[in-house]
């Protein structure tokens, strides 16, 4: 409730009208409720992840085996213990193993431990990787993941924003020129979006890297990375072209198609006809009478695109050798690095939740039902 109180305090400074203040309070409350709901959802989701990743105690057995091996080697190689007889050494090893297992909590039953895993996962104490290291050499799963996160955000942020804006603009243009050749071309091409982005990625690499040698095969920067910031940025830009184009091509036709259809449905509404009859210019009709009421739907569909692209990241990044979160997950699978796999999944769950949460706030801001206080809407 502190959040909504804060917004209440600041509201009168910006605007003197009381209606505005209550709107902000309502939006604040809505946001808070959504935030709490989403957090509970994340908790359940992460707990399920922990349950799946535990795979009936198999992971614990792997860890127990590792502990046994490590302690045995330690005791056998310790010069201070050289004089002990074999039997005494064995006893010492057993004692050490029990201690280690107790320290790691392996002696507790799984239900109790699962909640500790959950707490650790939620607070992003993701543990140590078994084999993988971050580029700075750390074994901390959190550091490994945080290091890769910016490149993922760069790639998918750029491409999603571009996709969103470009397809919206094209769709608006097409809905104005409905039935034109371009319009029909987009409708005809929309089934091509059945193939995911990585699929087009393979073709683009084939054409532009392998055949024409115009663009790099993959990666994020040239090797070795350029020192000067400007050249570095240019190099990253060059490496961005192919993956961003692949995402655009794979998704643009269907999103243009669905939005154009949407705009067409809305532009045949009576009130739009009325506005046109009044002689309002096309621009105003478009902005106030077509875009405004379709905004919540546009945002929902944007959210769904975002979510689906997040989950598509592992393959996409692998194909383009993009050093992001998805490829880390892929590498972790290859190395059977459980800690990193679970950590990545937790981060994905968080990213999804944050995406949904941010979009919920925007949704609340644009959806009059939430703002004015009608029946609450939601994504």
């Amino acid at each position: 409730m502190t959040q909504s109180a804060a917004t209440l305090d600041t509201a009168p400074v910006e605007s003197s009208s009381t209606g505005n203040a209550s709107t902000l309070a309502r939006v604040g409350k809505y946001t808070l409720v959504r935030g709490v709901t989403l957090f509970i959802t994340v908790i359940i989701g992460v707990y399920l992840t922990v349950l799946i990743a535990n795979m009936g105690g198999y992971v614990d057995n792997i860890r127990r085996g590792e502990i046994r091996e490590q302690t045995s080697i330690q005791v056998m190689n310790d010069p201070a213990l050289k004089n002990l007889s074999g039997d005494e050494k064995r006893k010492l090893i057993e004692k050490q193993i029990v201690l280690s297992e107790k320290r790691l909590g392996l002696n507790q039953p799984f239900p109790i431990r699962s909640f500790r895993f959950l707490r650790n996962a939620l607070t992003l104490q993701l543990g140590r990787a078994q084999l993988m290291t971050s580029d700075s050499g750390s074994r901390q799963v959190r550091l490994i993941i945080l290091e890769r996160l910016p490149s993922t955000l760069l790639l998918f942020g750029t491409s999603n924003l571009l996709l969103f804006l470009v397809s919206l603009l094209i769709a608006l243009g097409l809905s104005r020129r409905y039935g034109s050749l371009l319009d029909r071309a987009f409708v005809a091409l929309s089934p091509t979006s059945a193939a995911p982005g990585w699929f087009y990625g393979i073709f683009f690499i084939l054409i532009f890297s392998s055949l024409l040698h115009w663009l790099p095969f993959g990666g994020m920067v040239d090797a070795p990375p350029p020192k000067a910031p400007l050249i570095y940025a240019l190099s990253v830009g060059k490496h961005l072209i192919l993956p961003v184009t692949a995402i655009l091509v794979s998704a643009i036709f269907v999103s243009v198609y669905s939005w154009r259809t949407f705009f067409l449905i809305y532009s045949s509404e009576d009130y739009v006809e009325m506005a046109r009859a009044k002689g309002l210019p096309d621009g105003i009709v478009e902005r106030r009478y077509i875009l405004r009421p379709t905004l919540p739907t546009i945002i929902t569909s944007f959210a769904l695109t975002l979510i689906s692209l997040w989950t598509g990241a592992p393959i996409f990044e692998t194909i383009f050798n993009w050093p992001g979160l998805g490829r880390t997950l892929f590498q972790a699978v290859g190395l059977f690095d459980t800690a990193v796999i679970v950590g990545s999944t937790v981060i994905f769950a968080y990213l999804l939740a944050i995406t949904v949460f941010l979009l919920d706030i925007i949704y609340a801001l644009v959806d009059p039902r939430v703002r004015i206080g009608g029946s609450g809407g939601g994504v």
Binding site: T37, L38, T41, V42, I44, G45, L48, T49, I52, A53, M55, Y58, V59, Y178, A188, S190, P191, T192, S193, A194, A195, P196, W198, F199, I202, F203, I205, L206, S209, S210, F217, T261, L264, I265, L304, I307, W310, T311, G312, P314, I315, T318, I319, L329, F330, V333, G334, F336, T338, I341, V342, S344, T345, F348, A349, L352, A353, V356
Partner: protein, 451 residues
């Protein structure tokens, strides 16, 4: 049902939908044909059998049809086995218990490039005394080249360019070239040019026992092979490409059907019973939307099993409470208020009966386009998993071919056929279903049809 018939009739008005229907039918026929001609067990042996089965084929050879696009024809692989009539065989008894067995291999060579390697695999039959062979090579211009004279114990393999004595002899007469080039080149051409025409390989055998026999398989490994080419393990890609069709269709159809139908029924029950049931379903859906499908599939694949059927099960399980539940819910909410539902209640229909017989059928027109458009999504999901290395360990699929190609740097090495063939088939399948799905969407949603 009448509604449905109308829809099908209407589908004919959309050329893209008709193209899609043809693609789907072609795929089904292809899949059935595959399952009949290459039964499952045989496909598995051919794909996973090991080097014993694959040795006959060249490594990384593009398909034969690339020759149609090339001015210089690449040599095809020539396989001639005397055991099944690949060679002319004559047996003649001599004095002192000796037998002469002659194997004569005759073949045309009309290509503009040299084979990759020439190999003879011998299968002799004898008790104690090994047969002795003398091999000669006759070129189209009548030159006779002695290839070698040696004993052939069981398991003898004669690799032409690895035989020191043969190479020395060829160096003296033709220059310093590996045997597979020297034997096919026009003498004194530099760089070497292949000599086109009919070649003869003759193996004259002396066997020293009664009942002793000899068969030999001659293979000139070419630079192209078959209709689909081969991969890095010399496997014929045709098998994986053919078997990929039934697997992809089964996975796509089952996953799409499984998720849509269960989602629909659950949404219907939620709406009908309302209250806490509906709430629970809504909450589960929200949690489920938060679970990332691909990472979970990756976890299941890594920790449990990579079997395609387990993956399918998990996909369906996670798809049940998918986002579409909300769409269906909205439609059911409207239907629930219909008078005919009230009538059903009045004559005493039970809850389950109302849901399954009265609510669910109402939504089928909305679901069919969605179902058809979902199929390619799942077909590509299977391919995605395979590309990630989580493909089924046994079944050959399109995605696994792409993964092999990707792992072996096919695009870097210019082996485009290796990626393009499975990718083309995937695209073909995806487009077929998507085109039909989009057309159905317009037919079943009248609001879209007007546009």
């Amino acid at each position: 049902m009448e509604n449905f018939g109308n829809a099908l009739r209407e589908l004919r008005r959309y050329p893209s939908a008709m193209a899609g229907v043809i693609v789907i039918l072609a795929l089904v026929v292809f899949a059935v044909y595959t399952m009949i001609t290459i039964p499952y067990a045989q496909a598995i042996t051919l794909w996973r059998g090991g080097a014993d089965i694959w040795y006959r084929l060249p490594r990384n050879a593009p398909p034969t049809w690339v020759n149609y696009f090339r001015e210089k024809k690449l040599p095809d692989t020539i396989i001639l086995n005397s055991a099944n009539g690949g060679a002319e065989k004559t047996t003649e008894a001599k004095s002192f218990g000796q037998y002469l067995i002659d194997l004569t291999y005759t073949f045309d060579f009309t290509y503009d490039d040299f084979p990759l390697a020439l190999v003879l695999y011998f299968t002799p039959t004898y008790k104690e005394k090994t047969p002795f062979v003398s091999i000669t090579w006759t070129t189209p211009d009548g030159r006779e080249i002695r290839l070698g004279d040696f004993d052939v114990p069981t398991g003898t393999v004669f690799r032409f360019e690895q035989d020191e004595r043969l190479q020395r002899r060829l160096r003296r007469t033709l220059g310093d070239f590996p045997a597979q080039i020297a034997l096919f080149m026009q003498p004194d051409s530099d760089p070497p040019l292949p000599l086109k025409g009919t070649y003869t390989l003759k193996i004259s055998t002396v066997a020293f026992e009664k009942g002793s026999d000899l068969d030999a398989e001659f293979i000139a490994y070419g630079k192209v092979y078959g209709i689909a080419g081969t991969d890095h393990l010399r496997r014929d890609l045709k098998i994986a490409l053919m078997w990929g069709a039934p697997v992809a269709l089964a996975f796509g159809l089952l996953a799409a059907l499984g998720t849509t139908i269960t989602t629909m029924i659950i949404a219907a029950f939620g709406v009908w019973f309302a209250g806490w049931v509906d709430d629970l379903i809504q909450r589960i859906t929200e949690v489920n939307l938060m679970l990332p499908l691909l990472p979970i599939l990756i976890m299941v694949g890594t920790f449990y099993s990579r079997s395609i059927w387990l993956m399918l099960g998990v996909t369906i399980l996670l798809g049940i409470f998918g986002g579409s539940i909300k769409t269906y819910r909205a439609i059911f909410m409207q239907t629930r208020e219909s008078p005919y539902i009230e009538a059903a209640q009045a004559y005493g229909a039970g809850n389950v009966r109302i849901v399954l017989r009265y609510l669910v059928p109402r939504i089928i027109p909305v679901i069919i386009p969605q179902l058809v458009t979902l199929i390619p999504t799942y077909v590509f999901l299977e391919a995605s998993l395979a590309v990630l290395g989580l493909g089924d360990p046994v079944l050959p699929t399109w995605g696994k071919v792409i993964q092999d190609a990707q792992n072996n740097g096919a695009l870097y090495k210019g082996l485009y056929y290796w990626v393009l063939e499975p990718a083309g088939l995937l695209m073909f399948t995806g487009l077929g279903f998507a085109m039909v799905g989009f057309a159905l969407d317009r037919i079943f949603n009248p609001r879209l049809r007007e546009l």
